[in-house]
């Protein structure tokens, strides 16, 4: 986890943000959850988002694939704007993979069926091809021998790796991770983080909401700190952890890094 192959390939790319969020606001009823969010993510860039609970970090990434609707501002994914247009939403969801805190595997389907569902029904891939694709990604997350089992028969760490593989089967351009290790027993965190790290090394564009600061240090290009619905600070990992600019960031870090 110590080598950091981070910034080299990013600078080479011109300014062609794959995700662009402009002036985003969101309310739950009267509660203003997201305030004036602006963010650009370049291809192959990896961003870690942290902040206290209730700060809006999950809500922000859920807006990116329209699991939450925003009320003001604009979100572009790969040049397509998220609006009420169902076609656009479907298109964006095909390109954006999401991994949830509670895995959300489909318990009535086998691991293999969980993986092939998207390719077969959304991308219309023939079944045999979808099976091969699924086995390829299951090998990658080192769980191929479980293909015929049901999610309920796997451990939490295994389930989360399956969930990552399920997203990868859609060949997404961006992966969103919503606290992927917070629901896991401590001894299973590493196996999931290892999969995410190897994904990072392959150049996947990732936005990760997490409190795993070791992961942030070794993999992220930028670390973002959110509080009360705002992005308080965005910084390189080194500066973020060693010289945070804002008082609130310092306070937060002092609370989670004992």
């Amino acid at each position: 986890m110590n080598e950091s192959p981070k910034t080299e390939d990013i600078e080479a790319k011109p300014d062609n943000a794959i995700i662009k969020i402009i002036d985003l606001h969101k309310w739950f009823g009267d509660f203003h959850v997201l305030k004036d969010i602006n963010l650009e993510v370049k291809p192959q860039e990896r961003i870690v988002v942290c902040g206290p609970s209730g700060s809006g970090k999950s809500t922000m990434i859920r807006c990116i694939n329209r699991l939450e609707e925003h009320q003001r501002g604009q979100i572009f994914v790969d040049g397509v704007e998220l609006s009420n247009n169902l076609k656009n939403i479907e298109k964006i969801r095909e390109e954006v993979g999401m991994v949830f805190q509670h895995f959300n595997l489909f318990p009535h389907l086998t691991i293999l069926e969980n993986l092939t569902l998207g390719p077969i029904w959304v991308k219309k891939v023939p079944r045999r091809e979808a099976d091969e694709l699924a086995m390829y990604y299951l090998e990658k997350v080192q769980i191929a021998e479980q293909a015929k089992k049901f999610p309920g028969q796997l451990s939490g760490g295994q389930q989360q790796r399956v969930a990552i593989a399920r997203s990868l089967c859609m060949k997404p351009k961006v992966m969103l991770f919503d606290e992927p290790t917070s629901a896991l027993d401590p001894e299973m965190v590493k196996e999931v983080l290892d999969v995410m790290i190897s994904l990072a090394h392959e150049g996947m564009t990732m936005i990760v909401v997490t409190h795993e600061m070791g992961f942030a240090k070794s993999v992220a290009h930028r670390v973002m700190f959110m509080d009360e619905g705002r992005i308080v600070e965005t910084n390189t990992p080194d500066n973020f952890f060693d010289h945070p600019e804002h008082e609130r960031t310092q306070l937060f870090l002092s609370q989670i890094l004992h």
């Binding site: 998207g118 309920g152 028969q153």
Partner: protein, 364 residues
């Protein structure tokens, strides 16, 4: 130095004899406390009082094949009433020389039901077999083709009528109920309020009143000269009624689904119909198998209410035989027989549903 070698194996000690076998079972289940012992004795005494006289009446002193007069003389059960009237009980007013036709139709229906028990056989082909079976059954019942005499549907009755009303009633009510449940969850206000109004209105009325409406009021609205078959009208009333109840049961299942399942389906890019068909309904319908089967079983038994619009289902045909002076007074035997038929059908449904639950269990 003394070396002690253990030769006895301690791992395989048997439990004390008093906790296993028949004696163990009796101790654990019948006599584990003094009041349970007392209760056990009381129940054994009651069974002793009830079972031998019943067996005496129902089996030993029973008349199986005799005239009504002989039955009246002996004190035992008069199963002869069933034997003597079996054709009317089973087939109602269907002309006796043609009664092989409903019998054949029922045999086809039962074979299809039994073939459909095994989920491994569910395929497109089975669907075609069902279609073919339905056409043949209809042809057998109605006649009018291939040299079969035409039999008007007002002569249909007995078991075929009961089975027809319930099998088609349940088969149509289930998908309709699922559709209504989805409609009630819809985000579109028009669909949502229409289904809510429908469900609440139907559930607010007794089935009997729906049957009356279908039999008496509905025809008044039809233009002159157009009549719709009375059985069909009753059938539709049963379907509409049962669907409303199925809908509420299914809605319970839909509400039990965690939001994460919808979100995972959404984030894969599945559309609404795919999400429902592939993710939500398979799980939600599985959760509600027990209450659904309760609804279906009670709907099956409720088909007997069609007597009030003068349809002769099996309960009515059985009852009618009792008005024959020769067989008057043997209602116990007659009703026991019908009860047994209903019980067999309901038991079939409930064992099958339990099997389905086991098959669909995927460990969570």
């Amino acid at each position: 130095m003394a070396v002690i070698i253990h030769t006895k194996e301690h791992g395989n000690l048997k439990p004390p004899a008093s906790t296993t076998g028949v004696i163990g079972w009796i101790r654990a289940n019948l006599c584990n406390t003094w009041y349970n012992s007392l209760l056990s004795l009381l129940i054994i005494y009651l069974l002793w009082q009830v079972i031998p006289p019943f067996a005496d009446w129902a089996l030993i002193n029973a008349n199986w094949i005799s005239s009504g007069a002989e039955c009246h003389k002996s004190g035992g059960a008069c199963w002869s009433i069933i034997h003597a009237n079996i054709r009317f009980i089973l087939f109602g007013f269907y002309p006796p020389p043609e009664q092989w036709r409903p019998l054949a139709a029922m045999i086809i229906l039962f074979s299809l039901l039994i073939a459909s028990r095994n989920r491994n056989w569910w395929s497109r082909n089975l669907l075609f077999v069902w279609l073919a079976g339905l056409i043949i059954m209809g042809l057998l019942m109605m006649g009018g083709l291939f040299g079969l005499t035409s039999i008007e549907s007002d002569q249909w009755g007995g078991l075929p009528l009961t089975l027809m009303l319930s099998v088609f009633g349940l088969a149509a009510a289930y998908p309709l109920g699922v559709g209504l449940a989805l409609g009630r969850q819809s985000r579109l206000p028009v669909i949502k309020s229409l289904t809510v109004i429908y469900i609440e209105m139907i559930r607010g009325v007794p089935l009997i009143s729906l049957l009356f409406m279908s039999a008496i009021i509905f025809p008044l609205f039809l233009p002159e000269g157009i009549t719709i078959n009375k059985i069909l009208r009753a059938q539709v009333a049963i379907i509409l009624f049962t669907a409303a109840y199925v809908a509420e049961v299914v809605r319970g299942g839909l509400q039990a689904m965690p939001r994460g399942q919808y979100e995972a389906a959404d984030s894969l890019g599945l559309n609404y119909f795919q999400t429902m068909r592939l993710i939500i309904l398979p799980q939600a319908l599985k959760i509600v198998i027990p209450p659904t089967v309760s609804v279906l079983i009670s709907a099956f038994k409720d088909t007997s209410l069609v007597v009030i619009i003068a349809l002769y289902d099996i309960l009515k045909t059985t009852q009618s035989t009792l008005s024959n002076p020769q067989w008057m007074g043997f209602s116990t035997e007659a009703y026991l027989f019908v009860a047994m038929i209903y019980f067999i059908c309901c038991y079939f449904m409930s064992t099958w549903s339990r099997r389905l639950e086991v098959e669909l269990h995927t460990g969570r």
